[in-house]
Amino acid sequence: MADDIHGALREAIRTILPDVECVLGWGSGPDPLRSAPLFMKSPEDVERFRAGELAVNNLAVFLPEYAGRKVGIVVKGCDSRSVVQLISETLVKREEVVIIGYPCRGVVDVAKIAAAIGLGNEDLEAGLVERAEVNGDTVSVTVRGETKTFPFKDVMAAKCSICRYPNAVLHDVFIGEKAEAREDSYADLEKYEAMSLEERFRFWEKEMERCIRCYACRNACPLCVCRDHCVASSREPHWLSQADSTRDKLFFQLIHATHLAGRCTGCGECARACPVGIPVGLFKRFINRAAGQLFGFQGGLDPEAVSPLQRFLVDEPTIKEKEWK
């Protein structure tokens, strides 16, 4: 990302800092390849801010905790949709958040980089990556003194190549030129749809065998706002058993997906956060497409909109029930 945009972003953050409790952004993480959330409270903190292709996390996940206090947040296009959805669900008040947007050309998929240098995601211990740089269309990573360079598009997160909203859909400040939107035809779902139901079930059973029930997928999800009250850990009601079974694990994923029906903004954090690489984002992709087809609705675009499953209408405008024969 260009230095002038970084400079302008820091300037924008410093400008709003006196009016807010803190500004959520990104700073350096366990190694130069990975960013971590940065909670900026002073101008000195702002020096450590960095955005761009390595600024992967969706910081909207922290917003509901600040209810009643005013905060700033720096957002990519996808992050902004989470903020919008939270506002539309009244979980975040519009007047309590200052949104700073910038054009996003995509972020890296750390798991893809790890795989490209011959490591598993779980092998990336802190300090292993000595240097990481994005230069134009390439990404260079230095591990144990050895530098490898990849084309950026090869290590870009899958969600970015089909990103329809690379610029913040709602913002108070926008720094830089708007980035170009891409198309999403849900082509990635075709190979799963080609499977029979039995094959799909076997596929998921196999995937779920790896699940360690850490609930990172849930915790990374900006719209999973129940936190300590999640139905997954409740015995009253007792939806899930505590048994270590693939069925219970799959059951949770289905609950998660249905809770996100018509709400999910496709930020992909659930799948990114999964330490064992289960493609849990697929459930949401399916359900998002269904919400679009059934209700003509996409979450996180309009702060005034109400998600179709969170309202009661006698007649859904997109479902012509009375014309059914």
Partner: protein, 652 residues
């Protein structure tokens, strides 16, 4: 818990295809079941006594009845266990009749399925807790929607019995379809002579408040405590001042307005009073035809009105009424016969509907009671009546019989002969349906005394020939083609649900069928009730009905309302949503999804929480399904209870 299981034979209804004794035997192995038996008729007096005895003998505190649908007998068994001192919500029913014995013939499979359903019921019952209804005061007033003969009957019966009645009529006068009729079968007495006095009674009864030219905008609340918003439509006439003198209608220069009351037979004036006996007798301006609105200039009526009642700037108003019960009496509308291309689809002026013909017959109608062809005003000598236009015809989506057309066609054939003695009527019919008191005799009279030619068969085509219409059909009794050269063709259009009946049904939260008719609580045993407590049906809104049946139902609905509101306090259903405060995160999803506005946000020690307004909650369960963390539970249908049923089924 000590659970008793009672498996019903229902005579042979269940026992023919389910081994009830085997189901009872299997149930003895289920957790906490200490007693089980099979009985011939569990709902019968000895059957219920058996349950009560078993509760006492075996100290039961929960009962499963495996029998019919809970819609049928759940109240029966709830009362039975209550008589034995057990809370009425400690009964579960397993529906082994409608869900098992009536739909499958394989006795072994049926017995297995019945056993599984009993196991599910037992597992749910184990998590049941006693629930207690609360009491609330009821408003002793009733809303009657629709001022036709059925609504009038309900209103008068309720008002006479001392209830306050609010009547809402969307037209500017009450009277409904009956007011448009000339004579009524089978006595051929004058319609307005018998209806008129009742209409006057409505206007004069101290207990009746009438809103004409008004519609129900919204209904909230629940049985005993409905809040109704009534939208008073713009009439451009201040009805407080209007005396119904009719001067405005005489002087109105716009004389080509569509005459809704006369079904378009003859025009009316833009400001009009529908008919001389209108109640209320007040003028209404039809903005579509009023020159003041179409050209911006006129104002004749305003100048002439002796009381200054004309108000072109009048705005819609909303009125609020509190009532304890609602009677829907919205009647029917005629099928739009233009769907039939073979009858000209509306192209031939001398093909008219039965109701248009009725207006022609009426002495107070547009032709002064003279039958005149719309095309040239001549008196027709040959009149053809075609029955079942929009009835009993699946091809146009109307498979049902409208019931009263056979009778009114016979009446119209008789009246035709009375009006024009040298006329000849032909009636094309499918079957004569005349199963009422003195009805069949009446149709015979039309044929035998009045010489109407009845031809059994459908008409294939009507086409013009000179100034006549050739009606070509089949006589299925003679197996021959028939052609009649008619001067006038009258189509006995069938009945369909009143315009926008479904919209009203949705406001009232009652069901309606494919054709828009409102659905009664039970086709035989609850004919005027609906499945929404406190909402009743009268007249043709429930299905096509003639005047005697509509009046009978109007009185029946009144009896139900009076029964309901004879008590000062009503009991609320405890099967409603409950918020578990410690689990609620205050996300508000339940508030948005509630169709009844029964959930509100509340502050609990500085935290945002949801709160159920118990009296408003209808127990629909939408909040329950929406709450992501399961903090809202529907009493008697908690997540754990439903999960227990599912688990039981999966274990089978």
């Amino acid at each position: 818990m000590r659970i008793g299981v009672f498996v019903c034979h229902c005579g042979s209804n269940i026992a023919a295809t389910v081994d009830s004794a085997a189901v009872a035997a299997a149930a003895r192995d289920f957790d906490e079941v200490v007693f089980s038996t099979d009985t011939m008729y569990t709902c019968s007096e000895p059957g219920q006594t058996g349950i009560i005895e078993a509760i006492k003998t075996h100290a039961l505190d929960g009962v499963v009845v495996a029998a019919c649908s809970p819609r049928m007998h759940e109240p029966t068994f709830r009362r039975a266990v209550e008589r034995a001192g057990v809370n009425r919500y400690m009964v579960e029913m397993a529906n082994i009749r409608e869900h098992v014995s009536w739909i499958g013939k394989d006795k072994e499979a049926n017995t297995n399925k019945a056993t599984e359903l009993v196991r599910m019921a037992v597992e749910k019952l184990r998590l049941n807790r006693p629930l207690f209804p609360k009491t609330f005061k009821a408003t002793r007033r009733v809303l009657v929607i629709g001022g036709g003969v059925a609504g009038i009957q309900t209103a008068l019966d309720c008002a006479e019995a001392g209830l306050e009645v609010v009547m809402v009529e969307r037209e500017s006068t009450i009277g409904g379809k009956m007011a448009k009729l000339d004579k009524t079968f089978p006595t051929v007495d004058c319609s307005s002579c018998i209806l008129g006095p009742k209409m006057v009674d409505v206007a004069q009864h101290p207990n009746i408040t009438l809103y004409a030219s008004a519609e129900v905008e919204a209904v909230s609340g629940f049985v005993g405590n409905f809040e109704v918003t009534i939208r008073k439509k713009v009439t451009c006439v201040d009805w407080e001042k209007c005396t119904g003198c009719g001067l405005c209608t005489e002087k109105c220069p716009s004389k080509k307005a569509y005459n809704r009351f006369d079904e378009g037979v003859g025009p009316t004036t833009a400001i009009n009073i529908p008919f001389p006996q209108a109640i209320p007798k007040k003028a209404v301006i039809d903005k579509e035809f009023c020159r003041y609105f179409t050209t911006g200039k006129c104002g004749v009526c305003a100048k002439i009105c002796p009381t200054g009642a004309i108000n072109y700037e009048q705005q819609e108003e909303l009125a609020q009424e509190k009532v304890g019960a609602i009677v829907a009496a919205t009647g029917y509308d005629l099928f739009d016969w233009r769907a039939y291309g073979e009858y000209g689809a509306g192209r031939y002026p001398d093909v008219i509907s039965s109701l248009q013909y009725e207006r022609m017959l009426s002495a107070s109608g547009p032709t002064g009671g003279h039958i005149k062809r719309p095309s040239d005003g001549k008196e027709p000598k040959t009149v053809v009546f075609i029955q079942c236009v929009g009835s009993r015809d699946a091809s146009i989506g109307r498979p049902y019989c409208s019931g009263f057309c056979c009778m009114y066609t016979a009446k119209q054939a008789i009246l035709t002969k009375d009006h024009i003695p040298d006329s000849q009527s032909y009636v094309f019919y499918m079957d004569i349906r005349a199963p009422g008191k003195a009805y069949d005799e009446f149709t015979r009279r039309a044929m035998e005394e009045y010489g109407a030619q009845y031809v059994r068969g459908r008409v294939a085509l009507i086409y013009p020939k000179g100034d006549k219409l050739v009606v070509r059909g089949t006589d299925t009794l003679m197996s021959s083609q028939v052609e009649v050269e008619a001067d006038l063709v009258v189509l006995a259009a069938g009945a369909e649900a009143a315009r926008n009946a479904s919209g009203l049904a949705e406001k009232l939260h009652i069901s309606y069928d494919t054709y828009g008719f409102f659905v009664e609580g039970h086709p035989k045993l609850r004919p005027v009730e609906t499945n929404t407590a406190g909402v009743f049906l009268a007249g043709a809104c429930q299905g096509p009905k003639d005047i005697p049946s509509s009046v009978a139902q109007g009185s029946a609905a009144a009896a139900k309302v009076l029964g309901l509101l004879s008590k000062d306090v009503l009991e609320s259903d405890p099967q409603i949503a409950q918020v578990t405060l410690q689990r609620c995160i205050g996300c508000g999803k339940c508030i948005r999804v509630c169709p009844f506005q029964a959930i509100r946000e509340t502050d609990f020690r500085g935290q945002r929480k949801a709160e159920v307004i118990e009296a408003v909650c209808q127990g629909c369960g939408l909040c329950n399904a929406t709450c992501p963390q399961g903090a809202i539970q529907l009493s008697h249908f908690t997540d754990n209870q439903v999960l227990a049923e599912v688990e039981a089924l999966c274990r089978c």
